[in-house]
Amino acid sequence: MATLVVFSDAGGDGDVQKTDANWDTCHDAASGDAVETGTLPFVNTSKFGSSFRIQRAFFPFDTADLPDNAIVSSALLRLYIFGKLNDDNDGDDWVNVVQTTQSDPTNLVLGDYSKCGSINDPDEGATRIDIGNITSSAYNTWTLNSAGIGWLNKTGFTKLGMREGHDAIDSPYGGADSSNNYIWFVSANQSGTNFDPRLTIAWTDVSFTNSAVGKITRTTATVTSNLFYASNLPILEMGVVVSTGANPTIDNEKFVIDNKTGDFEVKLKNLTPGTKHFARTFLTNTDGTTYG
């Protein structure tokens, strides 16, 4: 069990924008007409001087340190949002995570405009967040779904991006001239601040499955489980911890067995009759203790 927090570094993050009077030309363009890798890029769909403007954001994270055998349990994309506008509040005013095919994660270029997920209806890597629910001057969090977790690259860069709803579903922005649906985020161009984009990945190379309690008597019970162990570290101790309160730890009563992967069984003894007990499988190695 471990948590890897990757802070984006300068170079490949920012936004690529396209402006055109025709929605389809603007939306379907192969290449953008400006790249913003400065302090505060945008995810945006808007109208300026009767022209549409779309800005698509890119967040490459170097996740090569994630072990090949890591089982990822959760991943969070967190962006510090400097500001927002929500002028076309028609239900399509949301932002969500996509997977990009950015050519070079260290250098954002105009041609990446069309590489921010599929042009129409890209796969979405998290739950959509309505711009109205975005909090300014704070970190906002997108919890990656199974698709998003599947995009994590254990050998190189995880290439995430973000699109506004009208852009993602190819629905022309209907706001007035000089209006916007945008979020304005702090980029890694300010690398080294505590507001950098960050990707927090919880993973394990230890997992317990099919855990169950059976053979219950007045003072004993048997816990069965299956241990998957992919770590290279030696197992120091494993078994079941028990307490009369929730979430027992190794500081509570321990029932230790010989180290064993796959199916195993632990007999709990000397339990207090008529008392509710809580039990959890556990494994300790030099990285710490993992509970089932």
């Binding site: 471990a2 948590t3 927090v5 802070f7 340190d65 300010q190 927090t200 919880a202 979430n247």
Partner: protein, 115 residues
């Protein structure tokens, strides 16, 4: 923080990162963070007990902690491994280099956002 008016007050570490590649910057940061003798602390209502670290492990910044909030244990997915950790912390409208404070912030943030 106001756009365009932010100042970055770099000290030794920040200055040493200038002109370096991303890989070199990360490596320098891990080396410098590993020198911190971080003691148990309380931040934003979260009590942090340092079990191990900060230290360099497999090229990453490694910290292992216990955490409590409102008198209850917070389960932590230890160890916490940081890639390219920040060195600057907010100081009014500016940012100032303070590695120890930066580390405390990211530890608490990570522990809280695991749940």
């Amino acid at each position: 923080m106001k756009a365009g008016k932010v100042k970055y007050k770099l000290k030794e570490v920040g200055e040493s990162l200038k002109g370096k590649s991303a890989k070199e910057r990360h490596s320098i940061k891990v080396r410098e963070f590993s020198k911190i003798k971080l003691k148990d602390f309380i931040k934003d209502g979260v009590e942090i007990v340092i079990i191990d670290g900060p230290k360099k492990k497999n090229g990453l910044l490694f910290v292992s902690v216990k955490a409590r909030k409102n008198g209850e244990d917070i389960e932590v997915n230890n160890p916490l491994l940081f890639k390219n950790p920040p060195i600057l912390v907010p100081d009014g409208n500016d940012f100032i280099e303070d590695l120890e404070e930066a580390l405390k912030i990211i530890i608490v943030d990570t522990v809280e956002w695991q749940h």
